[in-house]
Amino acid sequence: MRVTRPRIRVRHPATAVVLLLVVLLAMPQALSTYWIDVLTAVAIYSVVALGLGLLMGRVGLVSLGQIAVLALGAWVAARLDFATSIPFPLVLLIAGTITMVLGTLVGLPALRLSGLYLALITLMLAGAITVVLTTTNFPNGGPGFLGHTESSFGNPAVRRPGIAGSDAAYFRYTVIVAALMFTLVFWHVHSRPGRAWAAIRQSEPAALAAGVNITTYKLWAWALASFVTGVAGGLLAGSVGKLYTYQFPTRDSIILLAVVLMGGIYNLWGAVVAGALMKLLPALLDNWGLPPDLLIILFGAGVLQVLLTAPGGLAGQVPKDLARLGQRLATLSGRRAPEGEAP
């Protein structure tokens, strides 16, 4: 399977940091609460897209159930938050860890399946989780293990960290945590696990012959993706305050797949693009009075375009139009010359 180099590359970390600072400082001042909430969602779903992009782009595994994983993370975070007074960063960490453990337990038998069957089993398990959640609901301050009470009055919201109570402050908090998740994944990709994943993705026999324990490294990627998605779930819990099953429809897992494919699964910025496609575009369309259903059609077309034109499967090239946009942005930041086509 041919794998081509990423076309969008952040060569200088300084560019990334500058962009980050701009986002952190300037944006909340200039925007209304509605848009701050939208951008918070973009940040959160970028992390989810990061997890899926890691699985698809780095190891060649497809999961159609990441939204269910997100829901799990949110559930754990909410439960912890209501039942204890553990500080929020620790809640995020625990939510991520528990999600990671659950994800690994699922991965152990499931990762023996190849491509299509793995994707299908994640779809099935996600569906099962969604059904369970419909019945157990999310914690809302109630009693018992499930922490859910039927009454809909006077239920508390998930408590946010002390320093980030306001929406603007929580947005900055979310961006920082998201940046940490991106850094975590970036670090993985550029050290031994990343090299092992590159070998696995191109040729499992060659990887095996080189002594790479394929099962371990696939599980590692799976665990990492589950961890960041669990943390994203915790961030989501803090953001919306009250969690309901309808916030995690099965349809979203499919849409996530579409936007991750369109955003480009090969590099980390693609995850940000994916988050924006998923959460910013619908809000923009809504603002302009256009039906959001058109977006779904667009995403479907996007999936087809990526898959029909990519030369070698899911871990192929970044789609040409979005890649050029990214290149133009990178050139504008003045730090890199436009790159020619890869051979």
Binding site: A199, L208, P343
Partner: protein, 239 residues
């Protein structure tokens, strides 16, 4: 030394290996045979991709088949593939180091030195951080061979390492292969259809046909053996 005893592989009504029994002594040994004789299947058994029905393989005193496949590389089993499998998006150095870093031998510095010496040994004059996807066929083959010889390999399996290369490159590959046992102390098994390459590199050669051993011994003798000729030509011996 590697001893193969009664190795049999069967799947789906086909028996690619049928009681293969042979001993590979030190140095470079050839393994030849007509298409479908079972040579690549044999390598696949050694690599752990295929489970044999019967038989065992003892290499340097260790039972190879008892080890899980990814541990065999750590033990010192290395292999190249018929269709070259250098990992494109990694650099040359990372490719060569792939086996090495998963075998946890020595420190990072010593591994880097090993990679450099392996690259020098195969005569690859490309910058170590160049991405493999920018290299041509000959260099990619050399990267694969370098990966097979880095560090302390014990058994090196080469599956048509010069396939698709023009004659001068093949000669270079031949020279490299001849030097492997001395440079690393490893046993080399070379599978190829190019008889001149086999004659040039291998002191001894074994011949497979229909999964069975039909000849083994010094290369020159084996290549003249009438059973071998008949197996390749598929005709009655010319009197």
């Amino acid at each position: 030394m590697m001893e193969v005893a009664g190795l049999t592989v069967r799947f789906g009504g086909v028996t690619p290996l049928d009681g293969m029994t042979v001993t590979f002594d030190s140095g470079t040994c050839g393994l030849i045979g007509p298409n479908g004789a079972g040579k690549t299947t044999f390598f696949n058994v050694l690599s752990g991709f295929v489970r044999p029905l019967r038989g065992n393989v003892r290499a340097l005193g260790d039972d190879l088949l008892a080890m899980p496949h990814y541990k065999r590389a750590r033990w010192g089993l290395r292999r190249t593939f018929q269709t070259e499998q250098a990992i494109e998006e990694l650099s040359v150095a990372d490719n060569v180091a792939l086996a090495h870093e998963h075998s946890r031998q020595g420190s990072r510095a010593s591994r880097r030195a090993d990679v450099r010496s392996a690259l020098a040994f195969v005569g690859l004059e490309v910058a170590p951080h160049a991405k493999v996807e920018t290299l041509g066929a000959r260099d990619r083959r050399l990267v694969e061979i370098a990966r097979a010889v880095v560090g302390r390999p014990r058994v090196v399996l080469l599956d048509e390492p010069a396939a698709g290369l023009p004659d001068e490159e093949t000669e270079h590959v031949g020279r490299v292969i001849r030097g492997i046992p001395e440079h690393t102390g490893a046993l080399v098994v070379l599978v190829d259809h190019d008889m001149s390459l086999v004659s040039a590199c291998c002191d001894t050669t074994a011949v497979l046909d229909f999964g069975k051993l039909i000849a083994a011994g010094p290369t020159a003798e084996v290549l003249r053996d009438e059973n071998v000729v008949r197996a390749y030509l598929g005709t009655e011996p010319v009197s």
